[in-house]
Subunit: 718 residues, 2 copies
């Protein structure tokens, strides 16, 4: 469906038909109508039910075609087998937006899958946009629009939430009402036959009533498009996503190191990191982050000031600051002096500021205000335990005043139950996010700090490298024409050379004399390897010789190889022996790529050998990416210090590794048919001396990449 | 204070004096009396206040000495400066147990520290046991004893809780009342001048009213004693500890690799692991675990059955099962058949069992019961979202019935707010722990599984190795007599040899001819190193030569070393040149030890070189430990596959490494004066060929270890 077709009719319809409205309380078709009527919606409401003349005092229609006026939005609650014909009627009536609540589609076996396909077809035929099926639909707090059958209606707020799961959505609504969390818009999109996460991101991107977007998803069918849109939206407002479930790559045969280490988890992690999406790791986390972002702006930096009326929780908050990668602010001397003027002598004037157990509201508030005025403090976490002299409500009010008079975020942790219940309500109503335990407040703050850092980064420009695309395509075509998808060293080297990646000088010898001659020309020492796509483990049969130092050695190596191949692999087709420059020294790294079913080309970096194979110490990004992310990949692995030089060894050419990552990123973007590749090892020489791809293997798809994938990839390069 | 002096008088006093009882509501001394009177305590209560004749209708005394009958427990609420004299009166009155609520002690600067010392002295003088100062004291739900000034009284339950922080304790009481969490006993011990965590563990060890012990601590002053007691108590009932705050080793000079990697965090982690203590990583976690253990018994194994009425939360639970190291149970075919008889066709009969959104209580309960009967299921997690047809209360009741008729634990996740509020109350009253989100239920279950595993392990017997303790002591004494605490390679080797750890054959040469001769005798190749405690980095000045292959090489090496030492370190005192057998091959590992201020000797294991220095891939245990923990240390490091053989290399002698760890564990226990040591590298040869300590350094204390430390260490060996 075209991007320009927006979703206004879902969120601001002037009239709503409820097809399948029921007379019987407890039935979904009844409860939805009741919710629509009781939530304050002021547009026209048309119940549709051929067997009723009126429901809940509202006139009922035989079908949408009977309704006199136009219908902006239809909510369909009829049994699954009737949905398609009802959709057709909506089409005739020129309804542009339909919410299909009914279940019984792709979640319900083969018959359901077929039914869902029909639903998609009829929607396309009439140009109808569909939310659902198997969902709760839409709820808009500002207008009282409510197509759900959930009990209760959440209060108004700045958060818009989308959930793939309808059941979760009912629980969320119920829980949010109890917790006092407000929403702007709420969409449960179920099977997502049409409208999905990406459409909703677009819809809320410039929605002035939506300040924070929160999503629960179990998968993202169009990863590249999600990334494109999310990156843009995240620059405007925070997008918090909880992704659950394993969308595994399935039973794909994996032959490369990269392939064996890259799972869907790595792809999501990289995609969120690259687009600024804030990832929640649990439902708890999702809401903790949602209220933090909805109530307070992200801080300028990570220096946290803590005010507490108790030592223990102050220590917990301090621990959490350290674990969350934040910093305990070092208070200025004037702040300390100022605190001394009003706090008792036994108080702690340094961070965390302990105002003591007997602090009333005034002392507490003064301290919070003072911290907020300190130039070394970026955010304040306020911890309050209910003690004998504590004035929870007044303290909450004072804290709310302090928070509203400062640009800096204030997060609170009023600990306890009934003693702080009223105080928490006050905090909530003044947009101070409260958490029952200090760790959760600090974790939320930590996510805000990371988001702010992301916001302030310049765009990660994707560099464009010259490449001989034609030569590369020719290699792929030749392999395919010979019925091969696995490119060995020689062909892989041609591909890399086409992209300007240095490879060792190499010739193919077809006789011992030629080997001798070529080795001489290349210069000793050389490496010799048999060339045969029939022999996978060349080393095992003596097909690889390193460190050949003279002509005699080259001659011997050639003849031994021929002898052994005849003995151990008599049927193998040989293309000769590669005589290759031997790259001495340098740090062995690996750069690889695989294709993720959701996000497409995923590029991996790690140190060669044990680091990748045993320690799995690697880093991933979705291609294409720019220099900033390439550089971060180098820094993210635990063995990064080895690149910078450690244990008496000097640094290696990290700039050249970064450039090579960028080239690979471009290559796998331009050639989506590259299914897997490993450059292993890539030798990183001394700084300024570059990198050399000593060995590589590439697996391509059996057919040239379909246009779709190619298109996506290229548009993201712009 | 002697262990036999138990704490009954704190928990079951027949009479309580409140010294500092106040007439004025809002004052702590008033609120405590009010709490004592209103909580249902049936013993005698004696308010003490020289300025009042009665308070809250109870006769008031001038001092404890005026009270006619005996006093089992005194609660002291007078200002800090008056506490010591009040204590003396208690002593005269033969009061055996005193809770000091008053603040103003070591938490309040130098004066307070002195005052706390006086308090300790007077307590000792009269043989009084003290809880506090700066605390809330004691609360016992079964008798209504309540020395706290906290508002409200929690309900009765199986959990006994201790908190070092009083403020946290007030918050916990308040919060627990709201959440319906019940307690048996509750102690806030504040500064812990006498009674601390270890005493309370002992007091609750055999308390029939305490089924679960929960502790919040900021430090554990006597680590070894804590370990000894905790190990014993954990075998009887679960002990859950939240440890916050950094009790850092302070500005200790660290010269070894082990020292630089071992922090207090590593020591606590190891101590908890070795004693079966269940560690909570946040307050949230602490309560999540507390209710799980209090309500349900730990499962036989980690195979989890999930019942859900919604797909999304089912996926979340499944994700959490995987992340928590548990296993999704594979249901038997008879379970699947049984489910088919009663569940609709569209349901999922495999784990997670999805009973569909329209499931009423009966369908839900049937499924839970069926899973509990499956021999492949060890525990059930029940997820319920409030949907149109859901019957939350009835479902809760059915689930509670199912749980009570099975030995297997059932944890639930009724999601939502008001819609599930009454259901959660039902679950609580039937001891089914409920969590708002699936992840938290599964995390709690995961801790139960680990505890069960710990329970079932046989004791980790500490093996005893023959050692020439006299020879080792002589080495230490000689070094100390020469004013040295750093033992170099030669002396360290003597120490290791004293414990039967293999070292390379080595001689000291004092002339080139001697070097030649010795090398010949040892057998080539040899290593030669200058011996001088004045030269720290021998390699830098050419003071180490590897791989010397013949007599000429030995001669050359000796003379070159002498030349270079004269040139670069003319003032160094030389003890000659070590001529040493060169150990070829083998895997380099490191075994080290350092002393933690809380727990004493901490032993480290890791792979040598980069793995320790760059990747910090190491594992710790508190010594002494037995073979099981030694073997686990080998398995815990990420590079463990390298020990077992990887990338074409065979395995190394892991049994010998384990034995060496055990010997080091014994050595640092027997010699607490070993402050730090590194055996680096220890070469692990092929299986059956043992290990050789190629190089080592040891730092000893300036004085022979004090008796105390030694005592502790030895008694733990029994």
């Amino acid at each position: 469906m075209a991007e320009q077709h927006r979703l206004e009719k879902f969120f601001a319809p002037s009239s709503v038909a409820i097809i399948g409205a029921s007379t019987r309380p407890g039935k979904v078709g009844h409860d939805i109508l009741r919710n629509m009527l009781s939530s304050g919606y002021e547009g026209a409401i048309y119940p549709v039910n051929p067997h009723a003349s009126e429901i809940l005092g509202v006139k009922c229609y035989q079908s949408v075609l009977e309704v006199e006026g136009g219908i902006d939005l239809a909510v369909v609650v009829v049994p699954a087998p009737a949905v398609v014909s009802v959709m057709a009627e909506c089409g005739q009536k020129e309804v542009e937006a339909v919410v299909v609540i009914s279940a019984g589609f792709k979640e319900a076996g083969a018959e359901g899958v077929a039914r869902e396909r029909e639903l998609a077809a009829v929607a396309k035929q009439f140009g109808i946009r569909v939310i659902g099926p198997n969902c709760l639909g839409v709820l808009v707090t500002s207008t009282g629009l409510n197509t759900t059958f959930a009990a209760g209606f959440p209060k108004r707020g700045a958060v818009s939430l989308m959930s793939q799961s309808g059941a979760l959505a009912t629980a969320i609504i119920d829980w949010s009402i109890q917790q006092g969390i407000g929403y702007s818009k709420f969409v449960s999109f179920g099977n997502g036959v049409d409208v999905g996460a990406v459409d909703l991101l677009r819809a809320w991107e410039d929605d002035p009533e939506t300040e924070v977007i929160v999503a629960y998803v179990e998968g993202l069918p169009d990863g590249p498009e999600f990334m494109r849109v999310a990156r843009r939206v995240c620059a405007k407002k925070p997008v918090i996503v909880m992704k659950s479930g394993g969308t595994e790559a399935g039973a794909r045969a994996v032959s490369s190191h990269t392939g064996s280490l890259a799972g869907s988890e790595q792809a999501y992690e990289a995609a969120f990191l690259q687009t600024g999406v804030i990832r929640a790791h649990s439902m708890q986390d999702l809401f903790d982050l949602a209220i933090a972002f909805a109530y307070q702006g992200p801080p300028q930096g990570g220096r946290v000031g803590i005010v507490t009326n108790a030592g223990g929780p102050g220590i917990m908050a301090t621990d959490a600051v350290e674990h969350g990668g934040l910093e305990l602010a070092s208070l200025t001397s004037s702040t300390v002096e100022r605190l001394r003027t009003r706090l008792p002598e036994a108080a702690s004037f340094y961070n965390p500021v302990d105002v003591l157990g007997d602090a009333e509201a005034e002392r507490y508030t003064f301290s919070a205000e003072t911290l907020l005025q300190d130039e070394n403090v970026d955010a304040v976490v306020a911890v309050v335990t209910p003690q004998a002299m504590t004035e929870p409500e007044e303290t909450a009010e004072g804290l709310a005043r302090a928070a509203s008079s400062s640009e800096k975020p204030v997060l609170s942790c009023f600990m306890g139950g009934d003693a702080v219940g009223a105080a928490i309500d006050i905090l909530n109503s003044h947009q101070v996010p409260n958490y029952p335990f200090p760790e959760r407040a600090v974790q939320a703050l930590s996510a805000m700090v990371r988001y702010r850092q992301w916001l302030e980064e310049p765009p990660d420009e994707v560099r464009r490298f010259e490449a001989d695309v034609g030569a590369v395509r020719a290699v792929f075509e030749r392999a395919r024409s010979e019925g091969r998808v696995n490119l060995g060293e020689v062909e892989a080297r041609e591909v890399l050379r086409g992209y300007g990646i240095a490879v060792p000088e190499s010739r193919v010898a077809e006789s011992a004399e030629e080997a001798e001659q070529q080795a001489e020309e290349i210069g000793f020492p050389v490496v010799m390897k048999i060339i045969s796509s029939d022999i996978l483990h060349k080393t095992d049969i003596g097909g690889v010789r390193l460190g050949i130092r003279d002509r005699q050695g080259a001659l011997d190596a050639y003849e031994l190889m021929m002898l052994r191949v005849q003995r151990y692999a008599p049927k193998a087709v040989l293309r000769g022996v590669a005589v290759q420059q031997m790259i001495q020294g340098g740090r062995e790294v690996i750069i690889g790529s695989t294709r993720d079913p959701q996000f497409g080309p995923l590029v991996m970096f790690g140190l060669g050998g044990i680091y990748v194979e045993v320690l799995e110490d690697v880093s991933f990004r979705v291609a294409p990416f720019g220099e900033r992310h390439a550089r971060r990949m180098l820094g993210e692995i635990k063995s990064a210090p080895l690149l910078r030089g450690a244990r008496g060894e000097g640094p290696c050419d990290m700039d050249a590794i970064v450039e090579c990552l960028l080239i690979v990123s471009q290559m796998v973007t331009e050639f989506p048919e590259i299914v897997e590749m490993d450059i292993n090892p890539l030798k990183a020489l001394d700084p300024g001396r570059g990198v050399v791809a000593v060995d590589a293997r590439i697996t391509i798809a059996e057919e040239e990449a379909r246009e779709g994938a190619d298109d996506h990839a290229l548009c993201r390069l712009k």
